[in-house]
């Protein structure tokens, strides 16, 4: 988020619905996403996704198609351009097409849903987005996940665990999912589906088979509710943050799945003790926790960690400024500790 002094209303900083939805649909591998709007909207997002993917060691480009609305389309309407784009995309051998509108398409009154409802030979799934007219970045994420969750039919099953709404623009997205998978493995559970991170369109069919959904963050509760209503799957509202949060997570998952988690909790607690002992040399440095890139969950985790290590937390300018990052699980907390120790050196 920019530190722009003008914002009287924090919802102004919510970002673009389109980007949020694209962070989801671009992770369904054998599909294309059509962005119904000017080329610039698609370029901005293609460039962003490209950068994020490269940082995550993924050299491919997302499959985005722009209807490339120009001045004449703005005057006369862009539905024909959308229809043509869908037809061309449908002929390329992909499994499905997602159609995302933009603020300009909605402002000129194009009926994106009606065009998508025509026959093209493959599923064409409109996702309600309209740039900022559709809400915020998070609304885009939620809308896309709900649109995709509406595709598979309910199937009974008590299989593994779904990870819902991984933050695909996050630098450490894979490490966070791997940490949750590790914690689940302590309980003898496995991941059923990454909904949605690097999956095929066909894999969405097994969404309803899980025994539990774990949401990446509480902002995804509307998605969790939708999945519970559609498939009867209960959910936990967040990945675990910090030391005690991780132990609570293990207990909650065990409880939801009706299994005994005491051994897993004991094992993880021992792991955490060994980890904090290894960083005991940090003790007694007065510190300031830098909350500029931290959510409340991460701040709580950092505060707990500082107390555990005996680090006195001071106000701004009264100690060494330590970064507060995403402390998912014990593994994420360990990475934050390494960054703290690095901060002591440089």
């Amino acid at each position: 988020m920019p530190s722009n002094p003008l914002h009287a209303n924090s919802s102004r900083l919510g970002g673009c619905t389109l980007t949020g939805a694209l962070s989801v649909t671009s992770h369904v591998r054998d599909t294309s996403t059509i962005i119904h709007g000017p080329k610039g909207c698609a370029h901005h997002n293609a460039s962003l996704l490209h950068a994020i993917w490269l940082e995550n060691d993924r050299a491919a480009m997302p499959s985005l198609i722009s209807t490339a609305l120009g001045e004449s389309d703005v005057i006369f309407g862009g539905e024909d351009a959308l229809r043509v784009a869908i037809r061309h995309a449908a002929d390329t051998g992909i499994s499905a097409i997602f159609v995302l509108s933009t603020c300009i398409a909605d402002t000129i009154g194009d009926d994106t849903g009606a065009v998508c409802a025509e026959k093209y030979g493959i599923p064409v799934i409109p996702v309600p987005t309209a740039g900022f007219l559709g809400g915020t970045f998070q609304d885009g994420v939620n809308n896309a996940l709900i649109a995709l969750a509406g595709i598979p039919e309910p199937r009974p099953g008590k299989g593994g665990i779904n990870l819902i709404g991984e933050m695909n623009l996050e630098y450490e997205v894979r490490e966070n999912a791997a940490e949750v998978a590790r914690l689940l493995s302590l309980l003898g559970l496995n991941v059923n589906l990454h909904f949605v991170h690097d999956i095929t369109f066909g894999q969405i069919g097994c969404l309803g088979r899980a025994r539990l959904n774990i949401l990446r963050s509480p902002a995804l509760v509307p998605v969790g509710e939708f999945l519970r209503d559609r498939f009867g799957t209960p959910y936990i509202p967040s990945f675990p943050h910090g030391l005690s949060g991780t132990l609570t997570f293990l207990k909650t998952v065990a409880g939801e799945c009706g299994i005994d988690g005491s051994a897993a909790v004991a094992s993880e607690m021992a792991c955490q003790d060994a980890m904090t002992a290894a960083f005991s040399g940090l003790q007694h440095f007065p510190i300031v926790l830098d909350r500029s890139h931290a959510g409340e969950d991460d701040m709580q985790a950092a505060t707990e960690l500082a107390a555990r290590l005996g680090l006195p937390v001071r106000g701004e300018g009264q100690g060494l400024c330590l970064p507060v990052g995403t402390a998912i699980g014990t593994g994420g907390t360990r990475r934050m500790l390494h960054r703290w120790r690095r901060a002591l050196h440089a």
Partner: protein
């Protein structure tokens, strides 16, 4: 196909921002949503302001919000420029009338109106720079914040001018705002795709041939100029390039190059590779259209256009952006246009000037040797 897959070039709004944000003394406001604001902000690394309009302001009018933002900024003593994005541009509000109490520069440059060059050019024309015949030296243009080489190009142009005892007039577009209205009568270019049209052009500095012609011309038109040191340096460095390329050709075949860039950089890369490496230029994909583009240049607005050219011609050296690199397979790659992702870049490397050519040839040779071409 009217549609475009993975469009490769930014919109006119970004172009306008990349021009205006380079001027100190000008506060640039993106009049639109936060989504439209974030892209130029992250791309240009320049301080931009935004109105961050919301849905209700689209329905009931964004006038109050725009006034609020402009009024707050007007205390800074800087001139304010407002760039309209797509939705405000079609709402039909009389923005100029809204802001007439402030001396605001309004640039109507919505994304649907064109690509980055169009927006850059529109913003510069709205700024309406003027030549001051009493200002000595030459202006430097083509310095666009969007170009990853703009800082290096500017330093190199300033260095060459200093060596030729030529004062630098105004830099378009990275200068104090007041200097835009006292530009020198002559201008040298670092990137023709972002030419200013201000002052009489005396030539560019992309490539040895251009530099030689430009500084020869500078000696003719600028009183007191002495380009001898520049031309001497040029001769010496060109000889080094020739030797390095000759050594390469002792051992390797020349590369078959596919070049993807704006017209100006593409032409530079093609000329340089042909002249010094005897490279075969198998395809040139241009991001933009110019009247004097070489015949073999194809406009490539989307990634599939690039992919098709690469699959058809199979270059073993690809010059372009990291978009091109993503579809280049095992070909050697050198990046000259944005985005240049997946690589740490801290040093302000030039592409223009003598050091720009050295840097470019160095990268090409190393990339080709690494790939055993």
């Amino acid at each position: 196909m009217p549609e475009c897959d993975n469009p490769l070039w930014p919109c006119a709004m970004t172009g306008a921002a990349s021009c205006l944000a380079g001027f100190e003394g000008l506060t640039v406001v993106i009049h639109g949503s936060s989504g439209c604001y974030y892209y130029p902000t992250t791309l240009l690394h320049a301080p931009l302001e935004g109105t961050f309009i919301l849905e209700q302001e689209v329905i009931f009018g964004a006038e109050d919000r725009l006034r609020e933002v402009v009024a707050r900024l007007s205390d800074s003593g800087k001139r304010i420029a407002v760039i309209t994005t797509c939705v405000p541009a079609i709402l039909g509000e009389d923005i100029r009338a809204m802001l007439e109490e402030h001396e605001v520069l309004l640039v109507d440059s919505p994304g649907f109106s064109g690509d980055i060059e169009a927006g850059y050019s529109r913003a510069l024309s709205m700024l309406a720079p003027t030549v001051d015949p009493t200002t000595p030296g030459v202006n430097i243009d083509g310095v666009c914040l969007f170009d990853p080489f703009h800082a290096g190009n500017l330093l190199e142009a300033q260095r060459l001018c200093a060596r030729a005892s030529v004062p630098v007039g105004t830099v378009f577009s990275k200068d104090r705002l007041g200097h835009a209205y006292h530009a020198a009568p002559y201008t040298i270019g670092t990137n023709g795709d972002f030419a200013s049209g201000i002052g009489e052009p005396v030539g560019g500095i992309l490539g040895f041939k251009q530099i030689r012609a430009t500084f020869t011309r500078i000696d003719e038109v600028i009183e007191g100029a002495g380009s001898g040191p520049v031309l001497e340096e040029l001769d010496m460095q060109e000889e080094r390039v020739i030797q390095a390329c000759d050594k390469f050709l002792h051992r390797y075949d020349p590369p078959t190059a596919g070049i993807f860039a704006g017209c100006s950089y593409a032409r530079f890369a093609a000329d340089t590779l042909e002249r010094y490496l005897d490279a075969e230029i198998c395809c040139i994909g241009s991001r933009n259209v110019t009247d004097d583009a070489p015949v073999q240049m194809t406009v490539t607005p989307g990634l599939s256009d690039v992919r098709n050219l690469i699959q058809t011609h199979q270059p073993d050296l690809v010059i372009g952006s990291s978009f091109e690199r993503s579809v280049s397979g095992n070909a050697a790659f050198v990046g000259i246009i944005p985005p240049l992702r997946g690589k740490v870049r801290l040093y302000p490397a030039p592409l223009a000037g003598i050091n720009g050519i050295l840097s470019f040839i160095e990268q090409v040779l190393n990339a080709c040797i690494d790939k055993n071409i």
